[in-house]
């Protein structure tokens, strides 16, 4: 009986570990302004992981992992980056007209490995190169999985532009149909997802208006991408929004078959019409 209970506990712990990313801790980047005018403007960005949007109450993000991309695709120097306990921050100076991308976690995926060694369950996390270098991929009966996560937001000085949305062909990526800095209440909004560079159909998306701590209901909007990877919704409340989507599948990396998980999260603003 005791053994069964322990086994059930172990199973549920494993379940929590595997599905942990689906829990309510939400990663977000919140810029001081989404829309700006003039020749050049400073923008400050809050970066946190919290339950309520957009109130820091859990964990500050590592600001070193955040990159800012200018409308012309160049990397913008980050100023005043600071890691806080429950909220981190950075500033950047927008000097080009067009749309900037602020992003964390994009690019190289992380790898998770688990295997049995001397009767003990071992776990490992790191890059593909480190996995090779440390011989993790040669461990007996090793199970490897791949995970990538992008958290982004967009800021536009002047007229919106689309160069920063160029696809890398890797993981779950966002593409504007409606530009994320051109969202107004009561108007239909269409966003598109690519999975490994191709339209991602059947992806379930959750869209949440901010300020949920001042509402009794979270007012989650749910949508699913169509055959073209497009999902459509109409924001009714003005203010900042957060949306997230994930996809799980299988992939082959250097001849290794493995499970893969990719998620995408972004923040945008709906202005009152």
């Amino acid at each position: 009986m005791k053994r069964l209970a322990l086994r059930m506990l172990a199973a549920s712990t494993l379940f929590l570990t595997v599905t942990g990313t689906a829990s309510a801790h939400r990663a977000w980047l919140l810029p001081s302004s989404f829309t700006l005018s003039g020749d050049a403007q400073w923008v400050t960005v809050d970066a946190a992981i919290s339950n309520d949007l957009f109130f820091p109450n859990h964990h500050g993000m590592d600001p070193a992992a955040i990159t800012v991309t200018a409308p012309d695709g160049s990397t913008v120097a980050v100023e005043n980056a600071a890691k806080g306990e429950i909220r981190s921050m950075l500033d950047f100076n927008a000097t080009q007209q067009g749309t900037y991308r602020i992003a964390t976690g994009g690019g190289a995926p992380s790898y998770f490995a688990s295997w049995e060694e001397n009767g003990e369950r071992k776990r490992w996390r790191g890059s593909l190169a480190d996995m090779r270098a440390e011989g993790i991929d040669k461990k007996p009966d090793v199970e490897v999985s791949q995970s990538s996560r992008s958290v982004e937001t967009f800021v536009t000085l002047g007229a919106p532009s689309t160069e920063v949305f160029t696809s890398t062909g890797q993981g779950l990526e966002f593409q504007p149909v409606t530009h994320p800095n051109d969202v107004f209440t009561g108007e239909s909004v269409s966003f598109k997802f690519l999975l490994d560079g191709k339209p991602a159909s059947g992806i379930e998306v959750e869209i949440l208006p901010g300020n949920d701590r001042y509402r009794d209901t979270p007012s989650v909007i749910k949508a699913t991408t169509d055959a073209n990877g497009v999902f459509t919704f109409t924001p009714e409340l003005p203010g900042p929004y957060w949306f997230t989507a994930g996809s799980e599948g299988e992939t082959v990396v250097d001849g290794m078959k493995m499970k893969s998980r990719t998620s995408y999260t972004a923040t945008f603003e709906a202005l009152p019409l």
């Binding site: 829309t35 700006l36 005018s37 003039g38 020749d39 002047g158 007229a159 202005l271 009152p272 019409l273």
Partner: protein, 173 residues
């Protein structure tokens, strides 16, 4: 907030010749507030699909002042910024102007003006939007048909940031 009045009901009052001048009257209300700044204001002719047919006026702080570059706050005229401002290179000759004090202001555009000379016959909406630092924002719209016949002025009043907005078509010939 958005007040709309149609001209159609007034058309039978008179049937004079086609007007060659459009007069736009803008009243900026005098407000009893502790901290007052003149509003930024945009007036434009909108197509029925909300695209911009012609910009009439943009009143903002054109010089760099103590509060920084005036263009910083143009995006707060959020409807004009979306429909026109963000695609324009400010300032615009004959459109950009300084902010105005409370009171009545009048603008005249004749058929030779940049605003009206290229205006195709059709339905339009005169739109005036104002936003004030540490204040509010308001937009007033008056639909009209071009070419217009001289008729009684049409007035729509704002509630907070704008007073009476008056659209008059006159035949000056």
């Amino acid at each position: 907030m958005r007040a709309i009045l149609t001209l159609a009901g007034l058309a039978f009052f008179s049937a004079p010749a086609l007007a060659d001048t459009m007069e736009v009257g803008v009243e900026i209300p005098r407000l009893n507030v502790a901290e007052y700044h003149r509003p930024y204001l945009a007036a434009w002719i909108a197509n029925p699909d909300n695209t911009v047919a012609a910009n009439l006026a943009v009143w903002y702080q054109q010089e760099r002042g103590a509060e920084g570059e005036g263009e910083t706050w143009l995006k707060d005229l959020r409807q004009w910024w979306r429909r026109a401002g963000r695609d324009l290179d400010m300032p615009i000759d004959g459109v950009s102007g300084p902010t105005q004090a409370p009171g009545s202001h009048s603008m005249r555009f004749d058929t030779g003006s940049a605003a009206l000379s290229a205006l195709e016959p059709g339905d339009y909406v005169l739109t005036v939007e104002a936003v004030r630092e540490v204040g509010g924002r308001e937009m007033v719209q008056i639909p009209f048909t071009w070419p217009a016949k001289g008729a009684a002025p049409v007035t729509v009043s704002g509630d907070t940031e704008l007073g009476a907005i008056t659209l008059t078509f006159v035949d000056d010939k």
